[in-house]
Symmetry: C2
Subunit: 418 residues, 2 copies
Amino acid sequence: MVAERTSAFTPPPRLLLGPGPSMVHPRVLHAMSAPLLGHLDPEFLRLMDEIQHRLRHVFRTTNTFTIALSGTGSAGMEAALVNLVEPGDPVLVGINGVFGSRMAAIVERCGGRLIRVEAPWGRIIEPDAIAEALQRAGSVKVVAVVHAETSTGAQQPLEPIGTLCREHNALFVVDAVTSLGGLPLDVDGWNIDVCYSGTQKCLSCPPGLAPLTLSDRALATIRSRKTPCQSWYLDLSLIADYWAEAKRAYHHTAPISMLYALREALCLVEEEGLDARFARHRLHSDALMAGLAALGCTPFAQEGHRLPSLNAVLLPSSVEEAPVRAELLQRFGIEIGGGLGPLQGKVWRIGLMGESSTRNNVLTLVDALEEIFLGRPGTGRPGPARESALQVYRKNGLHKDVRAEHAIRAPKKGNDRP
Amino acid sequence: MVAERTSAFTPPPRLLLGPGPSMVHPRVLHAMSAPLLGHLDPEFLRLMDEIQHRLRHVFRTTNTFTIALSGTGSAGMEAALVNLVEPGDPVLVGINGVFGSRMAAIVERCGGRLIRVEAPWGRIIEPDAIAEALQRAGSVKVVAVVHAETSTGAQQPLEPIGTLCREHNALFVVDAVTSLGGLPLDVDGWNIDVCYSGTQKCLSCPPGLAPLTLSDRALATIRSRKTPCQSWYLDLSLIADYWAEAKRAYHHTAPISMLYALREALCLVEEEGLDARFARHRLHSDALMAGLAALGCTPFAQEGHRLPSLNAVLLPSSVEEAPVRAELLQRFGIEIGGGLGPLQGKVWRIGLMGESSTRNNVLTLVDALEEIFLGRPGTGRPGPARESALQVYRKNGLHKDVRAEHAIRAPKKGNDRP
């Protein structure tokens, strides 16, 4: 008898230039197809040690508690806040987009006394505004901000806020979902106590894990809570006992295959080198923004504080947002993101994260937009947008096509190992 | 320049016969290596629809809200309880092992008024005890029990409790982590309101997702809460709006690759047919238990209520638990589970779930144990334990090796489709 086999699911070809997931390297995809190990197998525990070591490198931290949480970036956000905040605790949250608002919602759900420091979407939270709010509040337990506001493309300065937190004896929580591995982040140097991310952004790993690191100060605060953490699944004092080398106490079954993928993605990050990686993200963002400017798109986020990983642009008034985005997907197989909340229909959010951040991808997108905007299908002649993007590459000596790309991505041995 | 490439992680060969993860079919491993789609891509949304359809089939339900939650089975447990229970709500929990205790802990963390109905570990919760507790309590909002107690190997009868719940107007929550896809479960027929599972047990998919289904009654209760759900990440009213075909409101990024895997694992379940799959689990469990009996192991769970998916046995007093289990792993590459909590050092928990439940695996384990127990390394002669296991197969006409196995797993077209 022959089995009545269902046909395999074959995803259509896609170039992922939205707000995540980003493109995943074949080595990472391949890693997931390895057979499973038990979550308490000595070989798997060794892999966890290795992942912790590699995560400390990308977070730039020596924190013992540096792990990959079994959930997406949003689970990282929830874990960070519900573990630190007890009912009545004063918590200051910077709100300038969707993800700051989400932090505020979580603080309210765990009974924290929310202190909002707001800025218009697209602008950063000024450190001075945080300073004033800290002064006014007297005592604040936690200050939480978003490093890379994926909804607006704004890049939040962190170092001055870290300094303020130490001065006011507050714990500093940072959402690095769309920054870890794509732009400079220095957990220890900037006095960050809790930092979490997601795997599907600049680390170019599939979604499903939230890298998370806690300072000893933060862990001590969690271990001395007066009330139990409201989440059992995300209770970091329990999870610490699974990841701790000496204990390995069973808490829940780790998502084995995702951890295989993360290990491989972190290897790729180290092979490239963090500094080279940050330079690559910045270069391709510059080229993309030059190309988009030639098409009449204007940057949405505040000048001087624009993310290289997530490029948010306002569309020219002549362009209808949703139909063009649908055409990109259907005709070209290119995914970009639309606006969230009040920005719906007004902006595009174009991700150049991890493996997605390449010269070929920038030019492919710019060409496609040019074709759609200018209504010149099939002429094959490069237009002014492509030319503007190319100028950025030429200035940086990257005019010789793909080989040049490889040069910029070659690893510098030992260049930024901790 | 050549990249300084880190060598790939290659897991050592393992036969996974512990309490999960179980062995994963190559088709499922392969599915995870497909390139990613965005979580709002129309093709991905179609895949979600397909997964919902297939999950309804294995749960035996018509519930609209039938999804795969972005977390492991424990996240499913937490989601079920924190969404239904508001502070002060009376919640009855059956406690006869680790997972009933975990449910009770979660009920307390969300401020529910916990009513414990306990039974010794290894025994079931008698439906009469539930009936009495319901009478005594007057009004109970939720009754929660574990279908397959992974810590003890006991299989809880559900149907009479479902009937009691309807009589008392209580919502019925069932933990089906170690049962879904491996033994009969009938969500609609047994009046179950909330049922959750994990992917890494009888579905033989890697860990990382929690299949979850809610009756309309349960969803209405959640939608009419007086207080917000304490978890934002697991807030099922928000998650419902992402999975709902008409809405697709962004909540968090779904773990795309894991959903590829689950889709393929569910295809395999359907190809085999649920009834054939249940029969397979029962047969191999019987053979294993016969072999273990010949080695002096005795079943731990109550007679007549033993799980086919998780076989818990007490060891003969002459056997040291941990060293033998370590030898199994190191010399034979076979993983089995030790006891949890009070059962540590006293029992083994041997999983025969999904792809792990085969004749070859049973005989391989029995042979290895025989070799270790009887201290007859390398003789290659089958001992009494293998003979006992083989007798069970002979009685069932499965004495002709692997081909017979294929026969029992051949799909019966349309035999149990809903």
